[in-house]
Structure formats: structure tokens, C-alpha cells
């Protein structure tokens, strides 16, 4: 029993370490890029990237948290959908729709009492995101249309629809952006702004952490989560077991959409002076969400830390402009990290070979002994594995 626990922890550690190796590979690649573009300032710039949010004391950390909040939400959205077998590329559109709903309620619905105005706006953001997620979900469940395609299309529909509606409703023609929301709709600061010495910070991060906990509980502790995961893992078997797989698909897309929408609400109600611009550009937070989810291995806690980490790099990216580097280097680093994350299997294999401890060895041979019957049946699988190695 004790041995078994050890082994499990060991495996968790290995996948954590393989994530770290992916990050290291990404950073080394970033360093090379810096060297190529300007070798003289490369090292100090690299140091700046690594320092990231820690360079300015509490204020820097506050900045990291501010950047992390929306991408934790979109990351959670993508990761949650992924755990239930769906690939939600539509986080960007859901995020934009949520942001617009929050701003609209924040600007127009001033009749709502001050204490709960921001709550109403966030609820509206979630609802709008949920509606935007429901579309691909319904199409997938009832017409078997691939959710990747529909959710990408919904991104564009969402962006243009929101642009159009902003112009008609809450438009600030002078700045080509939305009007500022009412004070009562801005998220409460709860003293966080003073703690971190930045006006951008508010309870958004607390709401995001709550969302992480709720999603964790739903996925791992409830029968509802069991149904969703079962459908994601094996649709046919879920149907066989009497689970309504269509309902599950729609629900998981609705929840994923709501999470992204909430992310949009949290960003644009933060009172940081950020406004929804009328531009023909998809919200980048949605795509950062994919990176965050991949890096966090779709686990809610992993996503929380991955979001913070990527925000940390982003802050570093702003700072390297001091050395005349463009912040896009950060995007490249993140892209390489994701790439290497995809090779996680390879890293794991390497680690397994190098780190195999005697304890693990004995457990594994036992495992293999019991596997005896299985081996020959799975000749093809072996061949595949060998290829992938």
C-alpha cells in the first residue's frame, strides 16, 4: 500500500518535471532568439524575462496577478472542455461576448443597486459566454459537427457581432472603444490594490481561484463530473452505461463558455483603464487560454499556476522593451514551451530511464507480470509506441 502511494507520487513528480523541462527548452530557445537579434543585450534581457514580475517588488507581482486572471479563466475553459473530450478553440469569442455583456450591463443598467451591480455584470458575462459556448455544443451533440470548426467560426461571429453592437449601444466614437462602465460596476478592490500597490488589482483573482476550486470539485468529486469525464473519455461506453451523452456535451460546452465569458467580465470590469476596442482582431486571451491549459495539463491547479507563470513571462516581456527587444519574443518562448509540452511523452520516457529507482522497478515488474496476457493482443500498440519513440 505504502509502495503504491510512492509510485503514484513519483509519477506525478515525473509529469511535473517533464513540464519543467519543456519550460526550460522554451527559455533556451528564447535566449537563442535574443542572441540572434542583439547579442550584446541578450543576457541582461534574458535576466529580465526570468525576473519577470519580481523586478518591481509587490507592484510587479500585482501586475502578474492582473495579467493572469483572464488567462486563468480561459485556460480553465479550454482545460475543462478538454477533460470532457472537447477541444474548445472558441474561448476567444466566448471571452469577447462575456466582456461585452459585462460592459453593456456596467454602462446601461445603472438601475441595479450599487452593491450588486458588478455581480449582475459578471453574471451577464457568464451567461453571454455560456450562450456562445452552447452553439458548438448543440451542433456537436445533435449533428455531430466537429466543435473545433464551429467554435473557431463562432470566434469571428462573436468578434464582429460585438464590434457592431458596441457601435450601436455603448460606443465612444472619439476613442473607437466602449464607454467606461459605471463606478458601481467596477469590481471591488478589497484592499488588494493597497497590498500590491497597483490600482489594477481587485477581487478578480479571488473569483478566478474560486472558479479553479469549483471546477476541480466538479470534475473530481461529483457524479456530474464523472458523467462528463466518462463521455469525454469514451462516448460509446457512456452511452452503453445509460449516460445521456448529448446532454453532457452541451453542458460541458456551456460551462466552458461561461468560464471564458467570466474571464472577459473580470478583465473589463477591473477598472484598470482597459476598454473593449472596436478592432477586427480576435481576443488574444482566448488563445493564451489554450497555452495555459496545455501547460497546466488541463488540471485546474496546473492551470492556475500555468496562468501565473505565463503572466510572469508576459510582464518580463514588457520589461525587455528597455533593451529595444519586442515583447513578441515572449510569445515565441511560450509557443516553444507548448511545443515541447507536446513532447512531454518523450521527456517522461527519458526521465523514466534515468530516474528509475529500485522501488519503482519492483512495482513495475509486478505490474508487467500481471500484464502478461495482454501483451500479445496488443502487438499493434507496441509497434505504435515504438514508432512514437
Amino acid at each position: 500500500m505504502e509502495k503504491r502511494r510512492n509510485l503514484q507520487e513519483h509519477k506525478g513528480a515525473i509529469s511535473f518535471i517533464s513540464s519543467l523541462m519543456a519550460i526550460a527548452a522554451g527559455l533556451i530557445f528564447g535566449l537563442i532568439i535574443l542572441f540572434i537579434s542583439n547579442s550584446k543585450d541578450a543576457l541582461p534581457a534574458f535576466a529580465t524575462i526570468l525576473t519577470g514580475g519580481f523586478s518591481e517588488g509587490a507592484r510587479g507581482i500585482g501586475q502578474v496577478i492582473y495579467f493572469a486572471t483572464p488567462i486563468i479563466m480561459t485556460g480553465l475553459s479550454v482545460g475543462f472542455a478538454f477533460k470532457t473530450g472537447l477541444f474548445n478553440i472558441g474561448a476567444s469569442g466566448q471571452f469577447t461576448c462575456g466582456a461585452f455583456a459585462a460592459i453593456y450591463i456596467g454602462v446601461k443598467w445603472t438601475f441595479i443597486p450599487a452593491g450588486i451591480h458588478w455581480l449582475a455584470a459578471l453574471t451577464g458575462a457568464m451567461a453571454a459566454g455560456a450562450v456562445w459556448g452552447a452553439g458548438p455544443g448543440l451542433l456537436k451533440a445533435f449533428f455531430n459537427v466537429n466543435e473545433v470548426i464551429t467554435s473557431i467560426m463562432m470566434n469571428y461571429i462573436g468578434m464582429y457581432l460585438v464590434n457592431m453592437t458596441i457601435v450601436k449601444t455603448v460606443y465612444d466614437a472619439l476613442k473607437n472603444q466602449t464607454k467606461p462602465v459605471a463606478k458601481s460596476a467596477v469590481l471591488p478592490k478589497a484592499g488588494l490594490d493597497k497590498l500590491f500597490n497597483t490600482g489594477n488589482l481587485n477581487i478578480g483573482i479571488i473569483i478566478a481561484i474560486l472558479a479553479v476550486i469549483i471546477i476541480y470539485v466538479v470534475l473530481h468529486k461529483t457524479t456530474f463530473g464523472y458523467e462528463l469525464k466518462a463521455c469525454g473519455s469514451n462516448k460509446s461506453a457512456s452511452k452503453y452505461a445509460g449516460i445521456n451523452e448529448k446532454k453532457s456535451i452541451v453542458f460541458s460546452m456551456v460551462i466552458a463558455g461561461a468560464l471564458s465569458g467570466l474571464g472577459g467580465g473580470l478583465l473589463y470590469l477591473s477598472g484598470s483603464g482597459k476598454y473593449l476596442q472596436v478592432l477586427d482582431v480576435l481576443a488574444p486571451e482566448g488563445f493564451s487560454g489554450i497555452s495555459v491549459a496545455l501547460l497546466g495539463m488541463s488540471h485546474p491547479l496546473g492551470i492556475l499556476f500555468a496562468g501565473l507563470f505565463i503572466a510572469h513571462l508576459t510582464v518580463g516581456g514588457f520589461n525587455i522593451q528597455l533593451y529595444n527587444f519586442v515583447p513578441e519574443v515572449i510569445d515565441m518562448i511560450i509557443a516553444v514551451i507548448i511545443y515541447c509540452g507536446a513532447f512531454a511523452l518523450m521527456f517522461k520516457q527519458l526521465l523514466n530511464t534515468f530516474m528509475a529507482s529500485p522501488v519503482e522497478e519492483s512495482s513495475e515488474t509486478r505490474e508487467n507480470k500481471d500484464n502478461t496476457d495482454n501483451i500479445a493482443d496488443e502487438d499493434d500498440e507496441h509497434a505504435e509506441k515504438e514508432e512514437s519513440q
Binding site: 461529483t222 457524479t223 464523472y226 452503453y240 445509460g242 500481471d370 496476457d373 495482454n374
Partner: protein, 512 residues
């Protein structure tokens, strides 16, 4: 004494697992050499090493007296080794002729010359009495003919060493007999045949010598004519196995499952996969639906359980019309289903054992409260099943099902289904791909259900299983029930005639 193949001291290791451990395997020229062993004994791995799919860590391969390095199937082909795989590797939208010459096309100035090839193929076909229609499409011909195509393909390449990997699994008794004749004919011509099987009757009928493998080890090579079936099975399993299942008399009660005029259409055509099928399954009996694979058995079960929609007809469970009920309702009313494809339907391979154990019952109050799963109850329940049904796995209730052996995966499904105390069990090929021990166990479990006064509907392709286990046989052919037979009064070859569609029961005339 001349050996065409000598595989000496072959050891093949996957990770830390020895799939083959110092196996020596020698085939004489002009013999049928059977390779016998349970699933996972290493038969396929050994042949894959011979065929160049795997490289052995240790050992040498000597073909026709020369040490050879076989690093891929092309090398094997060049050494005149050919293989008929268990699952045929044919291109469905090719004609028979095209399939046979695939890879060895006769070409003149870049243009395909089929006439020469056709002549050679037809000569071979006549010589070995392998009847084929060279212009039929693979998708239109029977499984038996597909196999003949595969054999001709090997002969067309002038292979001298022929490997047959479980060739009889998909054939009717008549087709099996013909295959045996062909094999004997080929051996007379000086070819050597390796015949992989775990069916002792067939080995007894056709093989000259037999090598037995168990758990990757070479147990022995025996002369088939002087060895009894019992001795061979003991070598294969490592203990004595009873072939006959003890059947006690039970009282057949009222009908549990009534199927009335069930019709299911194929998805993209007007063909009826299941055509106007009517039957009952009563308390205390095992009804077996026998038929060759692909005659509508799978669809029939999917229709009854609700996995695919039915077009016409009704299904009653204990007198209650459940035709339109959801799968969950049918579950609650006492329908259990041991599915044909345990990886697709039966299990969620990435979940662990305990999560799979509660697949249909996780929502019951004993496993959840306010929507939160009671993990302790689930664990306890899984432990109970493991103990009661002797499910063996690497980490007990925490093992991921993917890492469990096929037999234990099937045991888990059976445990889960039977523990719900169902009224009727629909078992579709419950012993497919399982070794003798597990098969014996599963048959016993089904018998126990029947003896308890429950109903069992068994769908099987294995004739031994049909004859031994069932109380009543319904034969299905092209989606229709063509006969109701009593296993005690009928012979295997007669059953084969029904299965091949050449005979019908009196009350089962051809429908207009």
C-alpha cells in the same frame, strides 16, 4: 532431417517484460507445424519476429540452413515466407485479381498487364482447388473467399513457408474442412505450414507436429498423432481443464425477454440488417443465437439494448414494453449487457477499476450524496467485486483498466453486470479472445445465472460454445432467424448448414 526454419533460443523483451524467453522453434520441410498457446503465450510475438516485425534481443533464425537477419517483412518475403493474418489485409474496393497481384504487378512499359497475372492466378486457383472469382470486389465476397484470396496471394509470390494465424476463427465448419484439405494439399506440394491456433480439434485434424508455448516459454514440441488433446491442453494451460460444462436440468419459466418483429435498417442503405425477428428468452434457460459474423447479431443486440434505434417491432422485458425506454431505464428494469466490443462499449479504458465498476450505478444513493461521489463506498464495492469475481490486476481497485489483461477486463465487466442482479443477461461473444481458463470461468458464471432462474441470451460465433452452453439455439442468417434447434439433437455440421444459409427450419420459410 532437414529443417526449413530454425529459430534458436529467441528472447524478445518489451520494456521489462519477457514476451519470449529462450524459445526454440523448428519446422521441418513439408509438414504442418501447429503453434499452440493461450492468448498472450507469445505465439504472435514469435511469428512477428520470424516475419521481421520485431527484432529479437537474443537468438538466431536459420532459414533453409542459412543464418538470416530478418529486419522487416520484405526480408521475410524475399525468404519466401508468407503470412495469412488473422484479420485479412485486403483492399476492399479492389477486385480479387488486383488484390492478389498487389505489390507484384506485371508491368510492361509502365502499363499494367493483368492478362499474364490472371493466367497465373487461375492456374494456381485450379491447381490447389481454391475457388475464386477474379473479378469480384473484395467487399462483395464471403470471408471464406477472402481467405482463399489471401492464400493465393502467398502462392502467387511463390512463398514456400506459409504462416496461418488463427485462420479458422471466421469460418463455418464446412469452410474449415475445405481449408484443412487445402493445407494438406499444399504440404504435399512441398510447402511448409505454420498453423497458429488454440483449437485442439483442428490441430489434431491437420497438424503433424505441435509446439506449445506458455507465458513466453517453450513448453515442448510433440508429435500430434501420438498425443491426446487432454495432454496438449494440459501443456498449454499448465493444469487440467474440463472441456465439458456440467449442465443441470432447470425449470424453464415464463418469458423474460420478448422480441417481436424487430427490424433494423442499415444506416446508409435500405438493407435490413435485422429483418422481422421474433423470439423469447425464458427464465432458467440460455438461448444462443448462432451465426457467422456479420449476419445481424450485433445489430440485433444493439437494437434490444437501445444503442442503435430500431425501425420496427417491439421489445418486452418482463411483460413491460421497453422499446422506447432509455438505456438507463432498461438497466434499472434488469437488462444487463456484456458487449461485443469491450474496449468500445464495455469499459472506459483510461478510468480505473473502481470507476468502471460503477458505470451504471454511480448515481444510486449508495454511491453518491447531493451529487458528490462517496469514494469510500465505491472503493469498498470495487474491492467486493475483485474478491468475489477474482479479478486480478496490477494495483487492484486503483489499476487503470487499460493496463489490465483482456481476461480480467472481461471479468470486471461480467462482475459489474451480474452483480446488478439482472433479469436477463445479453452476452455477446463473452469469451472472444480469452484463454481456456477465463472461458471456463465465464461459462460457469452464465450457467449460474441460468440456474438461479435468470434468463441469458448468448450471441456466439464459436460452435463449441454454442453446442456446450446453450439450452436452445436460434440460427441467424442475413438478419433473419432461420431455425430453432436443440443442441442435444443436432450435429455441428448440420448447424453449419443452417449458418451458411443453405438450410432453413420448417416454420422459417424464406420471406417474400
Amino acid at each position: 532431417m532437414e529443417y526449413v526454419i530454425e529459430m534458436n533460443h529467441i528472447t524478445k523483451i518489451f520494456g521489462k517484460f519477457k514476451a519470449l524467453d529462450d524459445v526454440t522453434f523448428k519446422v521441418k520441410k513439408g509438414e504442418v507445424h501447429a503453434l499452440l498457446g493461450e492468448n498472450g503465450a507469445g505465439k504472435s510475438t514469435l511469428m512477428s519476429v520470424l516475419f521481421g516485425l520485431y527484432q529479437a534481443e537474443k537468438g538466431e533464425i536459420i532459414i533453409n540452413g542459412k543464418t538470416e537477419q530478418i529486419s522487416n517483412p520484405n526480408d521475410a518475403n524475399n525468404l519466401d515466407i508468407g503470412m495469412v493474418h488473422q484479420h485479412f489485409k485486403l483492399v476492399h474496393n479492389f477486385t480479387v485479381l488486383e488484390s492478389i497481384i498487389l505489390g507484384r504487378e506485371t508491368v510492361k512499359a509502365g502499363i499494367l498487364r493483368k492478362e499474364d497475372a490472371r493466367k497465373k492466378v487461375m492456374d494456381l486457383s485450379n491447381k490447389y482447388k481454391l475457388k475464386i472469382d477474379p473479378d469480384a470486389y473484395i467487399s462483395d465476397i464471403t470471408v471464406g473467399m477472402q481467405q482463399r484470396v489471401e492464400i493465393l496471394k502467398m502462392l502467387y509470390c511463390d512463398n514456400d513457408i506459409l504462416i496461418f494465424d488463427e485462420p479458422t476463427a471466421v469460418l463455418t465448419p464446412q469452410e474449415i474442412e475445405e481449408l484443412m484439405k487445402v493445407m494438406k494439399e499444399l504440404v504435399k506440394e512441398g510447402k511448409s505450414i505454420i498453423f497458429i491456433s488454440h483449437k485442439l480439434n483442428e490441430i489434431k485434424a491437420v497438424a503433424d507436429r505441435c509446439t506449445v508455448l506458455r507465458k513466453g516459454r517453450h513448453i515442448g514440441t510433440v508429435d500430434v498423432s501420438t498425443t491426446t488433446k487432454e495432454q496438449m491442453s494440459e501443456m498449454m494451460v499448465g493444469r487440467k481443464v474440463s472441456f465439458n460444462i456440467e449442465k443441470t436440468d432447470t425449470n424453464v419459466g415464463e418469458a423474460v425477454l420478448e422480441v417481436r418483429n424487430l427490424t433494423i435498417k442499415a444506416r446508409n442503405s435500405k438493407k435490413n440488417m435485422v429483418n422481422d425477428v421474433t423470439f423469447d428468452v425464458n427464465r432458467g434457460e440460455i438461448v444462443c443465437i448462432a451465426g457467422i459474423d456479420g449476419n445481424g447479431q450485433s445489430e440485433l443486440v444493439y437494437g434490444i439494448t437501445g444503442l442503435i434505434p430500431i425501425n420496427e417491432g417491439k421489445v418486452f422485458l418482463n411483460g413491460r414494453d421497453v422499446t422506447k425506454e432509455s438505456i438507463r431505464r432498461k438497466c434499472i428494469y434488469g437488462m444487463a449487457h456484456i458487449p461485443e466490443d469491450r474496449h468500445k462499449h464495455g469499459l472506459i479504458l483510461d478510468f480505473d477499476l473502481q470507476q468502471n465498476a460503477v458505470m451504471q450505478t454511480y448515481y444510486e444513493p449508495r454511491f453518491q450524496k447531493f451529487g458528490l461521489i462517496k469514494f469510500n463506498s465505491v472503493r469498498e464495492y470495487a474491492r467486493k467485486l475483485i474478491k468475489q469475481y477474482d479479478i486480478r490486476s496490477p494495483k487492484d481497485e486503483d489499476s487503470v483498466v487499460r493496463n489490465m489483461s483482456g481476461g480480467n477486463q472481461q471479468k470486471l465487466i461480467i462482475a459489474r453486470e451480474l452483480d446488478r442482479d439482472p433479469e436477463i443477461v445479453l452476452a455477446v461473444q463473452p469469451t472472444r479472445g480469452l484463454d481456456v481458463g477465463a472461458t471456463e470461468y465465464i461459462h460457469k458464471q452464465l450457467m449460474a445465472q441460468r440456474d438461479e432462474g435468470k434468463a441469458v441470451l448468448l450471441i456466439s460465433l464459436e460452435l463449441d460454445e454454442v453446442m456446450n452452453v446453450s439450452d436452445r439455439i436460434l440460427v441467424i442468417y442475413e438478419g433473419e432467424i432461420v431455425g430453432e434447434l436443440n443442441p442435444e439433437e443436432i450435429t455441428v455440421s448440420e448447424l453449419g448448414l443452417y449458418m451458411a444459409g443453405s438450410k432453413r427450419g420448417e416454420s422459417y420459410g424464406k420471406k417474400a
